[in-house]
Structures are given as C-alpha cells and as structure tokens.
C-alpha cells in the first residue's frame, strides 16, 4: 500500500505543499512526493527555498 500523502508548510508565509495536489502552476504534478520536488523549487507564496518547508503534523 502506498504511503499516505504528506503536507509541508513554508515557515515564512504558511503556504502548504500537499503531495496529493502537487503544484501544477509551478510545474509540480499531483502526487509528487516532497523528496521528488526539485531542490531549486521556490515557495509559490513568498519565494522562500524548499529547505524552508516543514512537515506539517496533523
């Protein structure tokens, strides 16, 4: 069984990256796992770096 999709949140603006939804507007397909998001991807909300996202625990 596939691992559940996770959500990651930008520390600086609160933008949420949901693995299930991806971020098609910035070229990240739905279902893209966080580790597969390119390292040079920037937060669509504020321009912060991928490293500035934290795993959101629900």
């Amino acid at each position: 069984m596939a691992a559940p999709y996770l959500k990651w949140q930008c520390f600086f603006c609160g933008e949420i990256y949901d693995e299930e939804l991806g971020h098609p507007a910035s070229g990240i397909a739905p279902g893209t796992r966080w580790e597969d998001v390119p390292e040079d991807w920037i937060c669509p909300g504020c321009g912060a770096m991928k490293a500035d996202f934290y795993l959101l625990e629900e």
Binding site: F12, C13, G14, G45, A48, Y54
Partner: protein, 405 residues
Amino acid sequence: MFEYPLVARPAHVPPELVREFDLFNIKANNAEWQLAVRDQIHAEGMPDIFWTPCNGGHWVPTRAPLIQEGLKDATRFSSRRITPIPGTNPSPPFVPLMIDPPDHAKYRSLIMPFLSPKEVQRLGEDARQLTISLIEGFYDKGQCEFIEDFATHLPIAIFMSIVDLPERDRLPLLAIANTLVRGMDLEKQAQAREDMAAYAMALINERRTNPGKDLISAAATARIDGELLSDDIMLGMVTLLLTAGLDTVASMLAFFTRFLADNPGHRRQLIDNPELIPDAVEEMLRRFPIANLGREVIEDTELGGAQLKAGDFVLFPTVAFGMDAKHFENADQVDFKRANKIHETFGDGAHRCMGSMLARAELRVFLEEWLKRIPDFRVKPGTELEVLNMGVAGINYLPLEWDVK
C-alpha cells in the same frame, strides 16, 4: 534631519558609477516615500548599481535581480555590519541577524519554534483581541493618532506574549518603543536603546534564575556547542526580537493605513471582498517596502558589473525590488489581484525575516477588524506627513479622523 559628511571616492570606484544619493534624507510628498526613492534610483541614466559618498560611502543596487542576488548570497555579503555610517552598528550585535552562516542557524533554531505557523495562529488571535479593544477604545472620539494610539501597541503586545511579560511592563515598553519608532533625535534614541538594554538584561537574569516556557527562558537555558549563551549573545537576541518586530510592523501599518485613507476604492474592494485581504497584505508589502538591508563585502567580488572590494558596504533598499517597473508591471499601482506577488520586502536568503508570517498575521487582522469598524477614514486635513528613514522607513505621526455613526 541627520547629516554625515561626504566621504572621498575610493580608487576602485569608477567616477561614472558615483551618484550623490542620501537614502536617509529623501523628501517625500504625502508620505509617498517609496515613490520618491523610486524617482531617484530609477531615473533616466541611473546605473543598475552605483556608489554614493553619503552616509559613510556605500554601494546601492537599484534593480530587482541585484537585490535578490545580494541578499541570497551570505558567502559574498556579510551581515556582521548592517549600517553604513561608522559607529552606528548595533552593539552587542543583533543575534542571529548579524551572525553569518553557518553559526547563525544555531541561534535561529532557538527562536524558530516561537514563530512557527502554529504559534503565529495563536499570536494572531491575541492580536485580533487587542486590535478590537484598541479600536473600540477610541472609535467614539472620531479621531486618533494612529502611531501612538494603535500601531506601536500591537507589536509590543505580541512581544510581551512571546516572552511572557507581566502587564505592568506594557507602559514602560511603549514609551521606549515610541521613542525608537519616532526617531531622528539621536540622543533620545541612544537613551531609549540603553533603557531597553537595561530592561532586557534584567529580564534575562530573571529567566536564568526562574525559567518558564517562553523564548527568553529557552535561550537562557540552551547550550550551543556545549556552552550557555553569553550576556552579549542573549542581549543581542532580546533586543533584536523587540526592535525587529516593532518599528517594522508599526511602520507597515502606517503605510497601509495612509494608502487606504487616501484610496476609498481600494477600501471598498476589501470591505466588499474580505477574502481579498491576504492578497492585499502581500500587494501592499510589495508596494510599500521599508527596510534597507546593509551588508559588508567579504572578499573582492562583482555585482551588476561593478567591482566591489572586501570591506565595501552595500545598502540593499528593498524598495528597489518592489518598485522595479522592469520586474513588476505598473509597479507604482496597488493591485490586490496582481498575479506576481513574490517580493523581497522581508529580505531573502539565510536572513529572511523570521517574523514575516507573524507580521502578515498582524497586518491581516488589522485590516479585517479596522475596516469592519471604521470603513471610512481620512488623514486629518492640513497634516503634512513626514517619513523618517534610517534603517527602516516610517511615518512618525499619522492623525486620522472619521465620522462617528
């Protein structure tokens, strides 16, 4: 008015890149400071980066890509010096703002849990309650002096909550805050900074003895590389927390409010569509940047085609990013539905503002609650607004009035 004698052009600065530009003395009509700066740095014939003999002599990048390049790169541009004028660098240094990577991360990680998205949600609700009670306190008068009656209260209350301060400390802190925010009397400012340092040191010592769950207690009991934090590091951290969240938020609130007071169409748009408020916050952050971020060149390097020498100082005005018409279409217009929202108002790279999400929450809550209660308001007729700028641009006096219903 603060004036520092002009300095001589260093040999490595070509004469064609010299412009006499004093960022700390920009005359602005009706508090349109960002427009006034834009008019100078983006005037016909201005290079993308120039050197000015004002304020101790420093470089000024004027276009969005250079602002971003410099702020992102802590390996070429150090934060150990953040002000261009000799003798004005904060002492002890602000922590972690004036500490370069990798060491800065050790201190930053101490503060981060207290400014996390979850904490911000709680603090934002505290800010909402305070916003409502402040507005209700002066609404019936039909007027207020926005800075002293409102803008400085919010960040002080937030700081008090993060570091768990007793209510009795509110008034003395507000007095210090108002002096720091109002700022161009250097003597009074120095006194306020001393008062703040004395207050902070007493607080640090108290939390070392009786630690609680607040940020200062966490820092007072933390060990970094096996050592407790020194007095200077602790003081640098507490003064940064207090000052960084203070004049910045107060100033942003004032620029937002001055704009909305003069633009009923934009006010109406937010009253009719409150769901636009988060986008409006972002757009006004882009349009009204206030911070001038200073860096020292670590080793000889190139920026925008200019040759910079180790020890040179670079002042990155974040307004140069937000107002760059090559980067933002109709950059001088406020458009709450603008598609490209990403700005550099909170800086970038390793030192990107840790309180940015908290600031956004304070600004959002302010718009939501103010516009519900005072949808129509104006700057008191006949007022000549003045913008003061040293590190952070701010409106020091903003009298508002409205019709009580």
